[in-house]
């Protein structure tokens, strides 16, 4: 625990990345130079820095930055908390405010849609129990989030408990509220013939309404009081003041009718009862529907297999999947789920991997192939060796990534947070202004004794200035809806990240989705991204009496011991033709020129013009042919034997099946597409032409890729870089959005904000389409939420009363409010059926029917 002397505190920070004594000195200096730091002692062995500091002068974030600036990292504790009882954006603000104020807490992000909070903190300063206590003191439940199937069960249980509780509340308040309403309106229309007159008795109505207010409505009073004690307000307070005021006036007018609040004709029992019922209806529907927005993650969790069949001492043993160890050999039969990740050691089968990679067709698995946990074995039985278990499996990594993404905030959410954080106060201020206006001016100017509550036959004849001003003021409190504002962005981001994950597209956060939706230029790395990254022989041209096979065989002999990709391509090409190259007696690689080899006393040369010229080989006769091949974007290599030209072998990389279609679709979406390569401009342009790319960034050295991306950004473009997550990491990091393609299943290691599990360029298109659809949904939701409040609040304030002589009743206000909140959730739920247009057209199938085309290596 931290110790304190006078105004100083002492904390132990865990610092990662220190390797030597100078690291210690650097860290001590960086921290010691901060104003307010009195003493720093760094221990290399434990990796800890003991810092004595004045909290009034220096913050934890400043210390963290100082350490990060010199290349190390302060490792903070990170906890996921399951938070129950959050209902609106103010709850999020309240939790973030209360926890954020705790010393030692660096960052806290609460997520209304997921009912969770993620906290980064120094446990040495503030233990997790204190964080939980701060949340619980606000009236919410806070428990540590568990993972996997247990998390799923607990989360489901908590949600069902909430649904059950609100359902019971709804039944009680709904039935009693309906009876109170019928009793209130008993003298009107045909009701006197159906409803007994005693039900209109105010005392009877009192006894019917009181259980509603203090039963199902009790939660609002308790929660708002808990918040007020901590100096925070939330949606519950709006409900509590609304319900409380309506009920109090009704009680006074029932038992003290001459008190001057409008008398027995101005009781608002039905307002108090129905207001409670409608608010609870909103809560119930929200609890039911909100769980569905996180369906994607739930579906992923459900995939986790429960059992595994391990071979131990030659026997099949059935054990829980979480007990499988790395290197265990397991057996999987047809129809069974593969329990963990591993490598096939025996057998052959086809596996449905669609749940992880989004690939629609089953994938063949033979010895040496990777088996992904949670995928379904279709045809044969096979054995495999476990390589990744527990939290390291592909599925666990994907779940973690999607969960993390869903807890981060998109920049577009800032405006919603800003509004929602001040919403409740603003509405109360408006309610006060409204009350004062109608009390002092509006009532005298416009009040008509025959005026009615909107959509009711109920006149408000008896109310005085206070009663009328109070009625309108309460309506303002009830009609406003910060829930819709708070839910608009996170619910859509959850829907979008989940939907993308279904297609094997992983966004690392809400900010990544928003940035992806705004892209203007997409840069593809050439080798391994647009192309397969594996060159192959495309042409063999023989000179004079030589035969093509002989030229290829000789070239393969020269390259047999080469590790160069072009050499390997030639050897593969020869073997594909049934030509097994012999071993050369000697082999010599001449960098930048080619190779020479000796075979049975013959000297073989394979290389470029420079090599031929230096070895005085006459090759002019084949130059036109070489130039033709190069203009097609192929790499032409001359072959000579014993000082005489033998022919040319041309090698090229092949385009992926979907490259051209992906580029065409990006163009259709209005994006510019560029290609980044180290090739010379002529070759690069030849490839770009084949694939339909309009901007070529050629002759870029690997170390300059990031600078090239930066240059495009400086032209004002929002740029995505698509490439290999490891080799192109700097360029991916520089881009506004780094898209790592074909990462396979080890997603945690990838750089880039967007990770594509499959090696399919159409997923780049699908990713951008999902991001655009998500942000469109966010904007729709925000439009609904802000639009509703912009229209409803003035309506509640009685803006139209001078013209229509009708005011919105508090119960109608509650119904409108519940509908608004629900409309946002339902609008988000529409994303569940969303299919990216590229996949709607059967992108994958179309792509595979395209013939691969050749491009240079």
């Amino acid at each position: 625990m931290p110790t304190e002397t006078k105004h100083l505190r002492k904390i132990n920070l865990r610092v990662a990345g220190m390797t030597c004594a100078s690291c210690v000195a650097n860290t001590e200096k960086a921290l010691g130079d901060l104003p307010g730091v009195a003493n720093v002692t760094v221990n290399l062995a434990t990796g800890k820095a003991a810092v004595e500091y004045d909290p009034a002068k220096v913050t934890l974030a400043e210390m963290q930055k100082a350490v990060a600036d010199i290349g190390y990292e302060v490792v903070l504790d990170r906890s996921h908390l399951q938070v129950t009882g959050m209902h609106c954006a103010s709850c999020v603000t309240n939790i973030e405010q209360a926890v954020g104020e705790l010393p030692g807490v660096k960052k806290v992000v609460a997520n209304l849609a997921m009912g969770s909070a993620e906290v980064e903190y120094v446990a040495d300063v503030t233990p997790l129990s204190q964080v939980k206590k701060a949340i619980q003191e606000l009236g919410y439940g806070a428990t540590e989030k568990v993972e996997g199937a247990e998390a799923l069960d607990r989360e489901r249980e908590a949600r069902q408990r909430e649904i059950r509780r609100q359902r019971l509340n709804l039944i009680i308040s709904g039935i009693l509220g309906l009876i109170v309403m019928l009793g209130t309106f008993q003298p009107y229309w045909i009701l006197p013939n159906i409803i007994p007159a005693w039900l209109n008795n105010k005392v009877v109505l009192f006894f019917l309404t009181t259980p509603v207010v203090f039963g199902p409505g009790r939660q609002f009073f308790i929660n708002s009081w808990n918040g007020l004690k901590r100096g925070v307000t939330d949606m519950n307070l709006l409900y509590a003041t609304g319900i409380g005021a309506a009920y109090l006036i009704a009680v006074i007018n029932t038992f003290w009718p001459d008190a001057g609040f409008g008398g027995r004709e101005a009781t608002f029992y039905e307002a108090a009862a129905l207001l409670t019922a409608f608010i609870i209806l909103g809560r119930y529907l929200e609890a039911v529907t909100r769980g569905r927005t996180s369906e994607a993650i739930r579906r992923l969790m459900k995939l986790q297999p429960k059992r595994a069949r391990v071979i131990r001492d030659g026997q099949e043993v059935d054990i829980p999947a979480e007990e499988v160890q790395v290197d265990d050999i397991m057996l999987v039969r047809p129809g069974e789920a593969i329990p963990v990740d591993g490598i096939v050691t025996e057998g052959y089968s086809s596996v449905d991997q669609s749940m992880i990679t989004g690939e629609s067709m089953p994938v063949e698995k033979k010895v040496g192939d990777e088996a992904i946990g949670a995928t379904i074995n279709k045809t044969g039985a096979f054995k495999f060796r476990a390589t990744r278990v527990g939290k390291d499996t592909a599925l666990s990594q994907i779940i973690k990534l999607v969960e993390d993404a869903q807890t981060t905030k998109a920049p577009i959410q800032r405006i919603a947070d800003l509004v929602a954080g001040r919403f409740i106060l603003g509405v109360h201020a408006l309610a006060l202004v409204t009350f004062l206006f109608w009390f002092f001016a509006g009532f005298a100017l416009w009040f008509d004794p025959l005026s009615r509550l909107m959509l009711t036959p109920y006149p408000i004849t008896a109310v005085g200035a206070f009663g009328f001003a109070l009625l309108v003021s309460v309506t303002v409190l009830v009609i406003s809806c910060p829930c819709a504002v708070g839910l608009a962005t996170p619910s859509a981001i959850m829907g979008g990240t989940g939907k993308a994950a279904e297609y094997g597209i992983l966004f690392k956060g809400g900010d990544a989705i928003e940035a992806t939706s705004k892209l203007q230029v997409v840069i593809f790395d050439k080798t391994g991204t647009l192309t397969r990254g594996q060159p192959s022989v495309t042409d063999v041209v023989a000179w004079q009496q030589m035969k093509k096979d002989e030229v290829l065989r000789l070239a393969a002999v020269a390259e047999k011991n080469s590790e160069h990709p072009l050499g390997e391509a030639i050897v593969r090409g020869a073997r594909a033709q049934g030509l097994e190259p012999e071993d050369a007696q000697s082999f010599n690689a001449i960098p930048g020129h080619g190779v020479t080899a000796q075979l049975d006393g013959r000297t073989i040369l394979l290389g470029n013009r420079k090599l031929m010229a230096e070895q005085q080989i006459a090759f002019d006769g084949m130059l036109p042919e070489a130039e033709r091949l190069e203009s097609e974007g192929k790499t032409a290599m001359f072959v000579a034997v014993d000082g005489k030209l033998a022919g040319i072998v041309a090698v090229a990389d092949t385009l992926k099946e979907t490259s051209a279609q992906a580029v065409a679709d990006l163009h259709r979406m209005g994006l510019q597409v560029a290609m980044l390569t180290g090739d010379n401009r002529r070759t690069a342009e030849a490839i770009a032409k084949q694939v339909g790319i309009d901007r070529v960034l050629a002759e870029v050295l690997p170390e300059n890729k990031a600078d090239t991306v930066k240059k495009l950004q400086s032209e004002g473009y929002r740029v995505a870089m698509v490439g290999d997550g490891i080799n192109d990491a700097p360029a991916l990091a520089q881009a506004d959005v780094g898209i790592a393609i074909g990462s396979g299943t080890d997603v945690a290691k990838e750089t880039g904000q967007v990770i594509l599990i499959k090696d399919d360029l159409l997923d780049v298109v699908a990713g951008i389409q999902v991001a655009q659809a998500t942000i469109r949904k966010v904007k729709e939701n925000l439009f609904w939420a802000f639009g509703y409040n912009t229209l409803a609040i003035p309506l509640g304030m009685g803006v139209i009363y001078p013209f229509t002589h009708q005011v919105v009743s508090p119960e109608l206000a509650a119904l409108l409010m519940a509908t608004s909140s629900l409309s946002v959730t339902l609008n988000t739920l529409r994303m569940r059926g969303y299919i990216p247009p590229i996949r709607r057209r059967g992108g994958g199938q179309v792509a595979t029917s395209l013939q691969p085309r050749e491009v240079p290596a």
Binding site: A56, G231, T233, G260, L432, F435, L436, G464, A465, F466
Partner: protein, 76 residues
């Protein structure tokens, strides 16, 4: 922490009382019943408290927290 709560409560309650008194003064110019005046005072007071509590408390907390820590440590 106690002093933060107490000082905050004094400030927001004080301002709310002032608001309620101002309301009462404003009603003196019109023909309002006693009940209307009392009801109005109560509602203005409640709304003022609700508006001021979450505004005043963090402000006071921010001002007094470092001071409080020094006092707590001195007490220890």
């Amino acid at each position: 922490m106690k002093s933060v709560g107490l000082i905050s409560a004094l400030i927001y309650t004080g301002i709310s009382v002032v608001a309620a008194v101002l309301f009462l003064v404003a009603t003196l110019g019109g023909e309002y019943t006693l009940v209307e005046r009392l009801g109005g005072i109560a509602w203005v007071f409640i709304l003022s408290m609700i508006i001021l509590m979450p505004v005043v408390t963090p402000l006071v907390k921010r001002r007094l927290r470092p001071q409080e820590k020094v006092e707590e440590l001195a007490h220890h």
